[in-house]
Subunit: 225 residues, 2 copies
Amino acid sequence: MNINDLTVGLIGGTGEEGRGLALRWAMAGAQVVIGSRVAERAKEAADELNQLLGEAKIRYGTNEAAVAGSEFVLLTVPFAYASATLESLHGHWRADAVLIDITVPVSFEQGRVRYVEPAEGSASEHLKTLLPENIPLVAAFKTEPAHLLLDPQAELDCDTLVASDNKAAKARVIEAIKFINGLRPVDAGVLYSARCLERMTILLIGINRRNKIKDGRFRILGLSE
Amino acid sequence: MNINDLTVGLIGGTGEEGRGLALRWAMAGAQVVIGSRVAERAKEAADELNQLLGEAKIRYGTNEAAVAGSEFVLLTVPFAYASATLESLHGHWRADAVLIDITVPVSFEQGRVRYVEPAEGSASEHLKTLLPENIPLVAAFKTEPAHLLLDPQAELDCDTLVASDNKAAKARVIEAIKFINGLRPVDAGVLYSARCLERMTILLIGINRRNKIKDGRFRILGLSE
């Protein structure tokens, strides 16, 4: 895999997590397009990140354009908009595309952080049912702190757990993530594992709150590399 | 807290995880009693561990005796027996006791590791309903590898996530765990978090399998201490 040939498009890439991932993929060398429902917002996000990068490396466009031009498509809208957004993009996929789903359904009612469990067991399992059949879905980047991703000087120094029912797609995503400095991909098995990964996000939000930090994250110990 | 005054009893402490925790609590300086339905099996486990320790530090007895004599009671039976075991011990608790629940409901059907979700959302939330009302339940030690716990030379070098609806009991457990060398307790919030912690065990079993290791475990990064 040549990272400079890798095209990464973000659906709704203007939020904190989306911008953070766009920045890190661009720093890794990939060709990044930030998509948005409103192209002007995508432009603003790309401009801000390109300023951090010191070059006009990140492009922008509509969500449709981001999907149509990308091998790796990151779904980075809030979960509440994820289903409708995916459905609206149905006809736009490249045949070799992979959807990387980072969404987590979370509610903050009465100050309490809670997981909003989809009927399929996880956001990733739910969203998989809405994709064209030939497009594999890989769950990843569910637990990386946006705050850290967005600071180009900050060492990520953590693991990202990667789950999918499509082994080949998962292997491609894992191989590509290795180009992101400081982020180690760990194979988390089949997509069923998203039920755990998404809850780990909720756990981290609580740990961050209790410890008044923003950068809580996971490392798996005991692996050989 | 003086760790040498702390009494730790294990309900069904003859399995790998139970023996491993008995060993580590004894190494920390606590007074440990291994309980079992069959006292002879508790004796065997205690004898084996005392040999590792080089002194007869760990005692043994029935589950009733382990509960009746302990401030911290660890529930270390397989989840399938946990409810019946707890119900049978109803009248035996000390007024100041805390139950530390380490159980995880897991199935291995057709070679696939799956979480068996209790109606209450987690094993810990289920078991809490079966305890005398004045006995708080704290979820902990859900993700520590038994293999590592049982090797007194091995550095644990990981975190244990601790969850409870009873803040005072959780604080006592966290304070005590700090005496276990190499194991850092991390406050995981209310008992609701057990839904995540128990699934993290399943995730680790998969990671261990895929990587042909036994010692996969978690560290939270970003904490100040």
